[in-house]
Subunit: 375 residues, 2 copies
DNA sequence: GCAGGTTACGTTAGCGTTTACGAAGATTGC
DNA sequence: GCAATCTTCGTAAACGCTAACGTAACCTGC
């Protein structure tokens, strides 16, 4: 009975829509829906106290031009009646919604989940909220999502884009909404950006493998985006700087290598690697999922890790340290990306949209584990 | 240089706020902010075509009382001018925001991340959006978040609550907003609910351990919430049904056992287990994180898994299958919870808030892996 | 005692959209 | 051919809030 569904579970007693503590002095919100709940408005409080709506509004927003005494009286009533300002209405007149849009390729991916968490935590302090959308690494879907979210008049967009071409992202700017790209940037598209230096990622991993004594280092590379390209460039240049060879077939493309697919692609890539002669003794993988698949396949072929082949991944996913052979990995500083993004968003909200784009580029950090530790 | 931050990265060419395709026929949005972008309104389209605002609105909402010819003309212009309805304004008058609030204890936790993803995917189809908040398993924070989110006039709340007492959740209902609890319910609080049958979770895991030949089964139990209690009850009753003993010390409490903490608590719990005589030969753990910590500690003590001790976790986290000894785990059907929740939310939106609460209870599914497979 | 300032409010006019209602013109029925 | 309907549109009012301005009342200072 794998999908049994029942409809009686737990206690079924009273409905949670209890009668309100205040006695129905305010009636339902007219036309909109069926809402029979009592929603307190500025008008209600004003009427009760015999002051004007604006005065109540002033008290709530802590404006200077109101007597302390009146303010106290109003705030007391506000609290007692459990008044909540209608942010929708406020938004309509102020032009700010206190909502930030976050679009990422995959919400489950620990990297993006962590960013979302960091971002959300920081924004909360300023009473901003996050509208999230997972684009499933689908460029068209991402585009549609952004288009729809624009209608909600968000104050800022944060996007880890999977577009090939940033053209559709311009529309965000055209709508007058600030945009922060995270993790992924575009070659000829100047834009606020928070992420890690991916060139350094490649450099760091490769330097490490060289330091561990690897002589023939291969790279399972990612897609032809900025991220994939920069990591590959870092890899190549580091080899060159050390005067090391980069034979044909030492760079295997794994494509998108999204979470679900990465392992399979890693396995296939490793098969190509295993067929090489001489066989590489160090592998820098585009991400940890690819690395996991590659490692699995190497095990099956009887390769011992790290002695027979050292492996370094990328992303420092949560489970990487818990694998059979804990995986060395370049950390992407996701938490900090989230927090720094929040900070950037907050400053952006105060600036006119024409301001010069800002970049925050974090240095990656290598976590050395058993999969590449030689001593 | 662990935190190097630079400010020059990638190309810096043009600002993304390009001049709009339409020639400034509509000016900036007045008072609100500094937005110099041109936002097209109903009024603008109406003026261009010499019709009234309402007519344009009718065309956009596909109302019947409009001539096909006029509609076509309007829609063409709408498309050409790249008009987007202002959902904030619409929301103010209709009383619906097309926004759903999701509050979970931890966004990074794969279980909740998956729910968020499933929910978001289904809601997207109906052009609803998700406002998320991570409560960090802090009851007070959760309460504050909900309170703030209420001000945004969301259409529905989806909450995996970490309250001890559901009292604060009533306020959602009082505000006239539907509420769906997920994963966690409350004893005397009737409310819409989507989740897994936690009693069955305990039953399933315990039955399995018994079937594998375990004679002395212990439980590392979770918090004293519905979830923790139901799993423990399922565990106890199954043992009883099979006439098996449950000696003192065979149930060890691990408390909240949130993601970061769970491993540590698992380790500590396992220490208590290891001290028991006779030592248990099967452990049902509250969740996979606890199981991981427990397993680690057991390894250190030289226990062989599953022969010396079989272990079953709960949650079927992504990494559980990739551990040194792949962990058996009761799957929580997170993806389906997300999708079913979306479905419930959608039906709730059409109903008056007084409707009788509905329960969707999914059957858990056991994933048997090496940590408990005896044959 | 009065110009000039300050303090503490109220009045008015929106924000961009939808709903309710009304009215002109076209169409129908007999 | 005229009342009754249907079709297609417009006008007015509202949703809950805030910005801008106005205006009493009260303070100064000399």
């Amino acid at each position: 009975m794998p999908t049994m569904i029942c409809d009686t579970y737990g206690a079924t007693e009273a409905v949670p829509w209890l009668p309100s503590p205040f006695q129905g002095s305010f009636m339902a919100r007219g036309r909109g829906g069926y809402t029979h709940a009592m929603v307190v408005r500025l008008k209600d409080i004003a009427a009760e106290l015999g002051v004007s709506v604006v005065t109540v509004s002033r008290a709530l927003r802590n404006r200077p031009d109101i007597a302390e005494e009146t303010k106290a009286k109003i705030l007391e009533r506000v609290k007692r009646l459990n008044y909540r300002p209608n942010l929708t209405a406020r938004s309509l007149v102020t032009g700010r919604s206190s909502l930030i849009g976050l679009v990422v390729p995959d919400l489950i991916h620990p990297f993006f989940a962590e960013i979302a968490k960091g971002l959300s935590a920081k924004l909360r302090e300023k009473e901003y909220y996050l509208i999230v959308s997972s684009s499933e690494s689908d460029a068209q879907l991402e585009q549609d999502e952004i288009e729809h979210m624009l209608a909600h008049h968000l104050d800022c967009f944060v996007v880890a884009s999977c577009q090939k071409d940033p053209e559709s992202l311009r529309r965000i700017g055209e709508a007058g909404v600030p945009l922060v790209l995270i993790d992924r940037s575009f070659p000829r598209f100047a834009c606020n950006f928070v992420g890690v230096d991916d060139y350094k990622v490649g450099e760091l991993a490769t330097e490490h493998l060289i330091a561990q004594g690897c002589k023939r280092i291969a790279h399972l590379r990612g897609p032809a985006t900025n991220v994939g390209n920069h990591r590959a460039e870092g890899f190549c240049n580091t080899l060159r700087r050390h005067g090391m060879a980069l034979p044909d077939g030492y760079i295997v493309a794994c494509g998108e290598a999204a979470d679900s697919d990465g392992e399979r692609r890693g396995r296939r890539a490793m098969e190509e690697i295993l067929a090489l002669k001489p066989r590489p003794d160090g592998i820098f993988c585009f991400n940890d999922t690819v690395a996991m698949g590659a490692m699995d396949r190497a095990f099956e072929a009887g390769v011992r890790i790290p002695r027979g082949m050292a492996i370094v991944g990328c992303g420092n996913f949560h489970y990487s340290s818990k694998l059979q052979v804990p995986l060395s990995s370049v950390d992407q500083r996701s938490r900090e990306i989230g927090e720094r993004t929040a900070k950037m968003v907050m400053t952006l909200l105060g600036k006119p949209p024409s301001a010069r784009p800002r970049n925050v580029v974090l240095a990656p950090e290598l976590m050395v584990r058993a999969s590449s530790r030689m001593n």
